[in-house]
Amino acid sequence: MASFGLWWGGVGHWDVFVAIYLFLGGISGGSFLVASIAEWFGERRQQAGYAHISRWGWTLSFGTIVVGSWTLLAHLSGPFLRAFMFPVKFTNWTSWMAIGTWVVVTFSLVVMARMIWATFGTAAVDDPSGLPRHLVERVGFGLTDLVDRGADLTRPTGPLRRLVQVTGVGLAVMLVIYTALLLSAVGWLVPLWNQTLLPPLFVASGFSAGIALVIAVTAWQNDLDGGLVHRFGLLDDAVIVVEGVVLATLLYTLTTGGAAAARTVDGLTSGSGLLLLVGMVSAGLLLPLAISAAQELLGSDSLLASRQVTTAKFGLVIAGSFLLRVLLIFTALQQPIIVT
């Protein structure tokens, strides 16, 4: 005699826009971190490359969070204008969505400021990493002068600068972690959104994607020194390894969970779920590490060490980071009700 049955609730409350938003939030925070690291090293070593990396870091971080904010709004099914009421409406401080929205807002302001301080006024440069100012110049209307003056007037120095740096890094980390906590807050109901493992997974994934994006763009636009590319590439590899370990642990815990965990595993090991998993692991973890290893072994003169291959490798890392978010949103399942 059957002892119990399972009642499965609905699935799929979130769509691809949420996945994109989580990805962009992660890569934005990661990019900011890369910019901050480059800035720190740039203060200690005299290599122009670091400054380029920083500028691209702020710019890309800003760009991705702006697009990300738009995709965040795009997933809402309510009346379009209503989301803009969030400053007065988001009052539930037990909800990561409310907290996170404020993190996004303040982070956006900070990264915008850092970007402007790094590319306008006395910090202006003609090379491609000064892109924000070049774009504003095209707009005209004396806007460039306005922003230049504003940047110079407000640019912090001394202890204030330290504060801004630290706050920025804190917000960047918060940004990535909150995207994980948003999911894992209901991890008690959705086994895939493991409360302990999701935050480190997202931080690692976001950071590695951030490194990949910023370094690839800087290398391409500013012909970044191969040594710097290599050093950041190694950092990326290390983060990827950490990411791999966390992901493996997460998948393992699913195999020992209850009915929903088991069914999630089924979803991940068949059909489109399997494709996503294989795609994500290959693109985000295995292939980049393999390419890096090959590059190490074959040396800097080989074909494999070329910029194109390195760029492709970084591209895979970014793709993998996106696929991870897609996987987490689309294969997630809620616990069933046990019916006896």
Binding site: G10, H75, S77, F86, V190
Partner: protein, 200 residues
């Protein structure tokens, strides 16, 4: 603080007819193809001939510790002090669907203008009906009988102040209820309800 309201469900009496789902939708003016606020599912187990197919009727359980209320960024979802009924303020809901992930019972639906709507224990009519309505009253005091209770053919669903529901339930069901966060008393199965080789 008023008396908490809840549901009582006796699966021994549920015949899986879905009259509760239909009655609910009609009370609240919802089209046939819209998502249900109260869903009936047959939980089927086993292999022929050792099979069982137990119908279960599920709606918002007006949980004592409502996870939907905790995650809603706008505080659109409230568990009312007066009667414990969990209602949504459709004027502030932005349709983020977070409550959908938080609810174990699949109660939130979003196909009324993209904004969340769900069972409001019939303190009002229509999506959002219930927000800021006066305290829930029992039928003898003029309150509307919940639509699902009104037309449950088998008499499997009851609703009311929890103290009154407890009086109708078995001890085992009440004990189980008091350990769980949901505001529904689910009756235990009769031992010999399901059909198998007949014990003389």
């Amino acid at each position: 603080m008023g008396e908490q309201w809840g549901f009582y469900f006796d699966s021994d009496k549920c015949i899986g007819c879905h009259a509760c789902s239909v009655s609910c939708k009609q009370r609240h003016g919802r089209d046939p193809e819209q998502d249900e606020w109260r869903t009936v599912t047959n939980v089927t187990t086993g292999e022929f001939p050792d099979v069982s197919s137990l119908p279960v009727s599920m709606s918002c359980m007006h949980c004592s510790d409502a996870p939907c209320e905790k995650v809603c960024p706008c505080n659109s979802i409230q568990k009312r002090e007066e009667d414990g009924i969990v209602v949504v303020d459709r004027d502030s809901c932005i349709g983020c669907h977070y409550c959908g992930w938080a609810c174990p019972y699949g109660a939130p639906t979003y196909d009324d203008g993209g904004i969340m709507s769900k069972c409001n224990l019939c303190i009002g009519e229509g999506p959002g009906g219930g927000h800021e309505m006066p305290p829930r009253e029992e039928q003898e005091d003029g309150g509307a009988q919940p639509a699902c209770v009104d037309n449950c053919v088998g008499g499997a669903i009851q609703a009311g102040p929890v103290s009154e529901l407890k009086e109708q339930a078995t001890t085992e069901a009440v004990e189980r209820f008091e350990q769980e966060p949901a505001n529904v008393i689910v009756e235990a199965n009769r031992d010999d309800t399901t059909a198998f080789p007949y014990e003389a």
